[in-house]
């Protein structure tokens, strides 16, 4: 009796989540997979295309550029964001006057809406009157052509993403605070300096969480380029310099009305993401097993 009732309560409590999951993830996911096998433009009825969309993607130079750009972004942004989150966590884990304000400041960019955040950077990066280049110029440093040079534009998108590391910072902070203080006291009595302490204690003990954060950030990073690419750089310049997979998918789907093609690109993006996360998981597992003094 009680078990039945518990089960019913459980079902009631889980229902909103399951409905949301089904409506927002499972059904769209299944539709996307199905759509990738069709040609569909919202006007004419969908026609079965088999793997034609995928074959076309393999030949599409813009898709290959987008994929390469996305991989580059993940390769640079994830380590930088992770390092930033850990560095901030290590700097701000102790209690000192004003630490709350610093922690809030570290988290704040994450809660700014994406579009507002992107518009803000549009101003910051402005080559003529943007405060970034004005400051660099005042210091006598080179002023990168943020929205015209190939590397500079891609760097700008990475720089924009680096400041939105609030969640990673919070998780890293909580993980660092979980490490017992006695371990640090002991290692200092044993004779370790700051670097040895970080390498032998802090990093390995934070590693499981960092691995999780890295996996999460890879997934996030594949998608995070959309707003900056759409609003700040417009996918270039030069042409396609900042066309990442999400923008490619958006353009094909909502501008060229090639829904099947866009769905096939989405499937590719999901598969690439899953492959990288799996690769990462294996690397971290091997790394953890190799911990020796």
């Amino acid at each position: 009796m009680i078990r039945d009732r518990e089960r019913r309560d459980l079902a009631v409590m889980l229902a909103p989540y399951l409905v949301g999951l089904a409506a927002l993830v499972v059904v769209p996911g299944a539709v996307t997979f199905a759509l990738s096998l069709f040609d569909y433009d919202l006007i004419r009825p969908a026609t079965f295309a088999g793997l034609d969309n995928f074959r076309e993607l393999a030949r599409d130079a813009v898709f290959r550029t987008s994929l390469r750009n996305s991989l580059h972004f993940v390769l640079f942004a994830v380590p930088v964001r992770l390092a930033g989150a850990v560095t901030l966590a290590l700097l701000l884990h102790r209690r000192f006057r004003g630490v709350g304000a610093y922690r809030t400041a570290a988290y704040l960019p994450t809660v700014v809406p994406d579009v507002a955040y992107a518009l803000l950077w549009l101003w910051l990066f402005n080559p003529l009157y943007g405060p970034l280049n004005l400051t660099l110029g005042a210091l006598g440093l080179p002023q990168p052509p943020w929205f015209t040079g190939l590397g500079a534009t891609q760097a700008a998108v990475i720089i924009m993403s680096v400041f939105q590391l609030g969640e990673g910072f919070l998780v890293a902070l909580a993980t660092r605070q979980e490490i017992p203080g006695e371990l640090y006291e002991l290692i200092s009595v044993e004779g370790a300096g700051p670097w040895a302490t970080f390498r032998r204690i802090t990093l390995p003990l934070m590693a499981p969480t960092l691995a999780l954060l890295a996996a999460r950030d890879v997934i996030f990073s594949f998608q995070a380029t959309f707003v900056p690419a759409l609003i700040v750089t417009g996918g270039g310049p030069p042409p396609y310099a900042t066309t990442y997979l999400p923008l490619f998918i958006y353009t094909n789907g909502f501008q060229y009305l090639r829904y099947g093609y866009a769905a096939a690109a989405t499937v590719c993006m999901i598969l690439v993401t899953a492959y990288i996360v799996l690769l990462q998981y294996r690397m971290v597992r091997r790394w953890r097993e190799s911990f020796v003094v």
Partner: protein
């Protein structure tokens, strides 16, 4: 090994005084136990010796060298924590050898020293295991081996046995003593357990509220306590304390009449308190002494503790009746709760304290 000296150490956290003019010398090869209740400053003293706390005033010397301003690494001490502080991601062998690794001792030499230390404490068969696979006692051995492996000038042990169960604690106590004898190591050992202090220490230092109360061999601490606090803290169950009052027929401690010890008159003009250990109260069913009612009977195997109220109902107990005392009796006596017994205060086993300052005035009256 080396000597370890605290010279006029004062440690303050804001307004709170954790250590107040601590002077304590630990001789080369001595096992000094620092004992005291929670908040007495004993762990602070240990951390000051390790260099984990900066002193407000005073000096710490290790091997005659002033190390007060030196960081922990330069003090050449090893520490064993109550929680063992083992690194969960490292094997037992790597845990033991971490001090050697950070000091860049060659790997082959380090491996030999790790094995030797592990053999000394009996954990050589577990070098490849991880801490989470070990029992409490095994973890304690690993923590000890880690302290041993660097051959430090002094060992600092912070309540190393308090996380172990009672049986294992007794066993590890003996093993630690054996280890200490074998190594001839200078050890500063902090505990709140007075039994540990008395059984292990070459000498015992009793701390209270950051102030040193008495230092001496265990026997001296037990038999000649410097004050009422030491007398009450050392010994289990605690010493019975009875207020001393002036009655028509002389002084009385509770219902017990007192006679001054030969050749020393009663200290005049002070409020007094009499202390007597539970084992020194002589309890009989119908012998001499004052009557008492049995409130609680605690069986502790080979001995029994009787919680008594002096002055049993129906008896003329005189002044001081209603005073609660604890008596330790042998196997032969097992009175029922609520029954009446007689309690006698034999000569030569009681202490007289100044009730205000706590100072011991007369040893064994």
């Amino acid at each position: 090994m080396a000597t370890l000296a605290f010279q006029g150490i004062r440690k303050q956290y804001g307004e709170t005084v954790a250590l107040d003019r601590l002077d304590l010398d630990v001789a080369d090869g001595e096992l000094m136990v620092v004992v005291g209740p929670s908040g007495s400053g004993k762990t602070t003293a240990l951390r000051v010796a390790a260099g984990l706390e900066r002193v407000t005033a005073g000096a710490v010397r290790i091997g005659g060298r002033d190390v007060t301003r030196l960081p922990p690494v330069a003090r050449e001490v090893a520490m064993v924590f109550q929680s063992y502080a083992l690194f969960p991601h490292l094997s037992v062998g790597d845990n033991i050898g971490i001090g050697l690794a950070v000091r860049r001792v060659p790997k082959r030499e380090a491996a030999e020293r790790v094995r030797a230390a592990a053999e000394l404490v009996g954990c050589a068969g577990q070098l490849d295991r991880r801490p989470f696979q070990l029992s409490g006692g095994e973890r304690q051995r690993v923590a000890l081996a880690r302290a041993l492996v660097r051959e430090p000038a002094a060992f600092l042990l912070d309540e190393p046995l308090s996380n172990l169960d009672a049986q294992l604690r007794v066993q590890m106590r003996a093993e630690l003593q054996r280890l200490h004898r074998r190594l001839g190591a200078t050890m500063l050992y902090v505990t709140h357990d007075q039994v540990e202090a008395l059984t292990m220490g070459d000498r015992v230092a009793v701390l209270r509220d950051g102030a040193l109360q008495q230092v001496g061999p265990p026997d001296e601490i037990y038999r000649r306590p410097a004050n009422r606090f030491v007398a009450g803290f050392v010994g289990s169950p605690a010493m019975n304390l009875l207020p001393v009052v002036t009655a028509a027929d002389g002084l009385r401690a509770g219902p017990f009449p007192l006679e001054p010890p030969p050749g020393s008159p009663w200290p005049a003009g002070r409020r007094l308190e009499l202390g007597v250990r539970p084992e020194h109260l002589r309890v009989t069913v119908d012998g001499p002494g004052v009557p008492a009612e049995v409130q609680v009977v605690e069986m502790a195997g080979h001995e029994t503790y009787l919680h008594l109220t002096l002055g049993a109902p129906g008896h003329e107990a005189g002044s001081g009746s209603g005073q609660a005392v604890v008596a330790r009796v042998g196997d032969g006596l097992r009175p029922a709760v609520g029954s009446s017994v007689r309690v006698e205060l034999p000569r030569g086993h009681a202490y007289l304290f100044d009730a205000d300052s706590g100072e011991t005035l007369v040893q064994a009256t």
